[in-house]
């Protein structure tokens, strides 16, 4: 039953299986992104309060949701690498950091651009925005910390600890709009209540969120494949791969 879990630790198996997953998931992700973006940008109705600037939601919310989820992935991978000393988890943790950082950057930038027509300013030191900026620095911190160490085993441990400590920021981001007075609007999607959006606006948003989750998975797998090749440069399976090309 647990053979699949043990196989996860094998770099050649992971490289092979990730290639098969990407062959299906990558075209599906691109198709979902294109359909979701066209649907949201050109076919969804305009918001009566914010006008057409609300269409930024189709990029801002998916990027933000997946940036937060990506941090969980990174921290859980860090915990697995610390507890079970699983090298593949360390690879996943290291590779999740740049993907999460890119999505947090997109979330911050799209939010700043959206802020101008909505609030009249690109930036305010608001609880939600500031906690998202801290998330961005946490991702950058993990990347920088890994680069700073000569000993990569120690680097992996330090990054795992930093990712776990940084988890404290995630509930703060979620609850910031409830705990503090904020310019940022409350959560659009709630697990316990019905969404405040009309279905004609909500459906493309759900598609874009799903597309961004798939984008994160694809980017993570691509980064992991690259990292596995580098780590296994002297191994027979990588040499065989290079020889076959």
């Amino acid at each position: 039953m647990w053979t699949w879990f043990h196989k996860l630790g094998s770099p050649p198996w992971m490289y092979r299986i990730s290639g098969r997953i990407l062959a299906i998931l990558l075209p599906l992700t691109i198709a979902m992104l294109v359909v979701g973006a066209v649907w949201g940008l050109l076919y969804a109705p305009m918001d009566f309060k914010q006008g057409n600037s609300f269409r930024i939601i189709y990029f801002h919310v998916p990027a933000s949701v997946v940036a937060l989820a990506g941090y969980y992935v990174m921290a859980i991978a860090g915990a697995v690498s610390l507890i079970w000393r699983m090298k593949m988890a360390e690879v996943a943790m290291k590779c999740a950091a740049p993907v999460g950082a890119a999505l947090t950057f997109l979330s911050l930038l799209s939010g700043a651009i959206w802020g101008k027509p909505t609030w009249g300013t690109y930036w305010v030191w608001d609880a939600r925005i500031t906690s998202m900026l801290i998330l961005f620095f946490l991702y950058l911190g993990v990347i920088a910390l890994y680069q700073a160490y000569e000993n990569k085993e120690a680097a992996g441990k330090a990054c795992a600890v930093l990712s776990l400590v940084g988890m404290v920021n995630i509930p703060i981001i979620y609850k910031s709009v409830d705990w503090w007075y904020s310019l940022h609007q409350p959560a659009t999607i709630k697990f316990t209540e019905e969404s405040t959006m009309h279905s004609s606006m909500f459906q493309p948003l759900l598609l874009m969120i799903l597309a961004f989750y798939c984008l994160f998975t694809c980017a993570l797998l691509l980064n992991m494949r690259s990292e596995l090749l580098r780590r296994g440069a002297s191994t027979s399976w990588v040499r065989a791969l290079a020889g076959a090309r």
Binding site: S53, L106, P117, L215, L229
Partner: protein
């Protein structure tokens, strides 16, 4: 389509600059996330392939005496 014309879709009642700039940044970030690691892996494998390639055969060495003793020298 929600908009009457392409012009209306581009301008979005004055919000087009904000919306389309976010679209451009999103496309760049998405492309970067997908293209950069794939290219890095491809280059790494290509680099290994070059390292693995057999060294070119050395030209056959010719001793000076052989040249001096050659007919007509």
């Amino acid at each position: 389509m929600y908009f009457d014309s392409l012009q209306a879709a581009l301008t979005m009642d004055g919000h087009g600059i904000y919306v389309w700039s976010v679209v451009v940044v999103s496309v760049l970030v998405t492309a970067g996330l997908l293209v950069l690691p794939a290219r890095s892996a491809r280059r790494f494998i290509a680099g290994l392939g070059v390292d693995e390639a057999p060294a070119p055969k050395a030209a056959p060495s010719v001793r000076i005496e052989e040249v001096n003793n050659a007919p007509g020298s």
